[in-house]
Symmetry: C2
Subunit: 387 residues, 2 copies
């Protein structure tokens, strides 16, 4: 049974001082339902991605909360958590739920409200994505973990800080064209290079921000989409892989193995090659993460991601546009929402709804969502659904 | 595609001062894998239930952690969270994953380590299962929420504190026969009645304890089970329903509507009636919860659960044995593990492995797992698999 995205919605990504967690998820969900043309009561189940609501807003049981706020009781509603890959995992879980034959219309949500606490407390909560005993307990934070990955890549392949900076510059440029992005500010290589070190060689402008936001999708089985005459985007494959939580247990620090394996499996299931992908939304929580991703996803050879970025090959008009939405870096990174927001962007691009950031002739898209420093990766491949 | 439980494992439920979260989940998982006769590398995906690890041990990303600790990278590993129904939801999600046809052997885990913090801090973390804004912020704790349900039931049906006490007495008696139970202590109605009020009319001995523990299952598709000659227990149905988080939004306080709806759907899918069930593990987080459950599941008419309990109809040799394991009350309640532990008990009973607590002629069993005060319910029905 093929699975089709028939609706998508997203809030503006921002520091939403006047909107609650509940308001954000309802806004995204209502937009998704409206865009599908369905009614709420046609939805049979919900899967929601959320990373750290317990520590960020004192609320667990997010699945039930979403159904409650949408007035969709008594349908089953499940929270999936895989750190910053929570949204991608929720999407894949919903995709399997439709493939199971037990549900034919399913909503997927992703949400995080990160600005209720101090930056230090948020940083500590995000640390739960890594290995608490081996890494966090000893003082590591996420910038420091990705700094280790950056150093390894610089050492092995000569990747430079300027090349990493070029990722931030490109993503800020794309975000200027995305009304829902957190940052609408053009930046230069010099701006990035002159920003303060957070964890050398990672500087402030290499980092994705703390963001509030939500995103939602409506999925339908092929049969149901045809029966109801729904248009949309087909999920050709959605694959997930795991790796060790701690960097110290990894075989290599110059790749995220979980990305590579999830991508291999996704390409195989979709029956395509990396060169068939017209654009990708990848997990650029730090600029080095985008460089790793475009290599691990097979768009560029290992070690050539930095140079490719610097040469503009990943820009909106480059060989393969990466993060047309602005990415985590500039669209923003409400952690549990990110994987779903990436799929919303894939939907918009493939439906030709991406306005000024539209990738030309976009036929096949890919999203890539990472949890922690790579202990979870989800790779999903999409194409326009021909009903 | 039918789904079969081919292995099960559980730790002792206790205050495990000398075992970590990681050690507990590995112990349960290894036992489950060994009992199935499979090798770890035959497992294709993991679904883990865990409620509040972020607040209880500072660790999110539990799916990846489990795969990591078991050396099962790079398979996909997903955490499901639905408060105290996290385990039941993980089981249902794994069941759908097999039904999807994408996975044929899947592990399900449930785990919680609750004794790292003070009782007050744990109580606050558990509060995340309810409505943070409407209930918890204003000082409600879970005993107080269930006290409201108890009062409503007492008012409507004349249910007595002694009848509630009889649930605790029966579950402690069953737990005496379960070597993995937290409490091995016979108690009397007087003991319960003389215990201190926690939230009137709920007394200390009406409450399930704070517990550390883990449980695990191995599921296989029917085809794979036949191919490998595996024995086990078939899942006839697994249904999940949601309700409002806050009690104040409910239509009725004398039932858990989510239980009733999940049960109706499960009976329908399994093609059976409540009278076909030979035993059930139900969610007795408080004694009143068991009384509500045996009514909402259709074993007794609404309002007659208290009397049925008092009359011994739910004892090991009664009309329908309820919680032969000792239940949450006496076996213990490591919240994220509970739903999986219930399924482990169903497996043991249907395989004839329950030793002194074996229900005679057990052919069909049911488990019932609740999140919070009933905003999530999962009802699963099992019978011995005839390969």
């Amino acid at each position: 049974m093929r699975v089709v995205i028939v609706g998508a919605g997203i809030t503006k990504f921002a520091e939403h001082w006047n909107k609650s967690f509940r308001e954000l998820i309802v806004e995204a969900a209502v937009k998704a339902i409206e865009s599908s043309g369905l009614k709420g009561e046609q939805i049979e189940a919900i899967y929601g991605g959320c990373m750290a609501s317990g520590r960020l807003i004192g609320q667990e049981h997010i699945g039930a909360l979403i159904a409650d706020q949408l007035g969709l009781n008594p349908i089953p509603s499940t929270r999936c958590e895989a750190a910053c890959a929570s949204g991608g995992v929720a999407l894949r879980t919903a995709y399997l739920a439709i493939k199971s034959g037990l549900h034919s219309i399913v909503a997927v949500g992703g949400v995080e409200k990160m600005t209720e606490l101090s930056t230090q407390a948020v940083s500590f909560a995000l640390g739960g994505a890594g290995d608490q005993e081996i890494e966090l307990f000893h003082g590591a934070t996420f910038p420091s973990l990705y700094a280790l990955l950056a150093r390894a890549h610089m050492h092995a392949y000569g990747t430079t800080e300027e090349q990493m900076a070029s990722v931030a510059v490109k993503n800020h440029a794309n975000a200027l064209l995305n009304p829902n992005a957190q940052f609408h500010k053009e930046i230069t290589i010099e701006d990035v290079m002159n920003s303060a070190y957070v964890a050398e060689p990672i500087k402030l402008l290499d980092c994705s921000p703390i963001t509030d936001g939500a995103a939602a999708l409506i999925l339908a089985s092929e049969d149901k989409a045809k029966e109801l005459g729904l248009k949309g985007v087909e999920i050709l494959a959605s694959e997930q892989a795991s790796d060790t939580l701690a960097l110290s247990s990894r075989e290599s620090l110059t790749e995220l193995k979980a990305t590579r394996i999830a991508a291999q499996k996704a390409y195989e299931r979709a029956g395509i090659r990396p060169s068939d992908i017209d654009f990708a939304e990848v997990h650029d929580c730090f600029t080095i993460a985008e460089i790793l991703a475009i290599e691990d996803l097979g768009f560029f050879k290992k070690g050539e991601g930095g140079l490719a970025s610097e040469k503009g090959k990943t820009s909106l008009k480059g060989k393969i546009p990466i993060n047309p939405s602005g990415g985590l870096k500039a669209k923003g990174h409400p952690v549990g929402a990110t994987g779903v927001a990436q799929a919303v962007e894939a939907y918009m691009q493939l439906m030709g709804l991406a306005d000024k950031r539209q990738v030309k002739n976009a036929r096949i898209g890919l999203t890539h969502n990472v949890g922690g420093s790579g202990a979870t990766a989800v790779v999903t491949i999409y194409k326009r659904f021909k009903g």
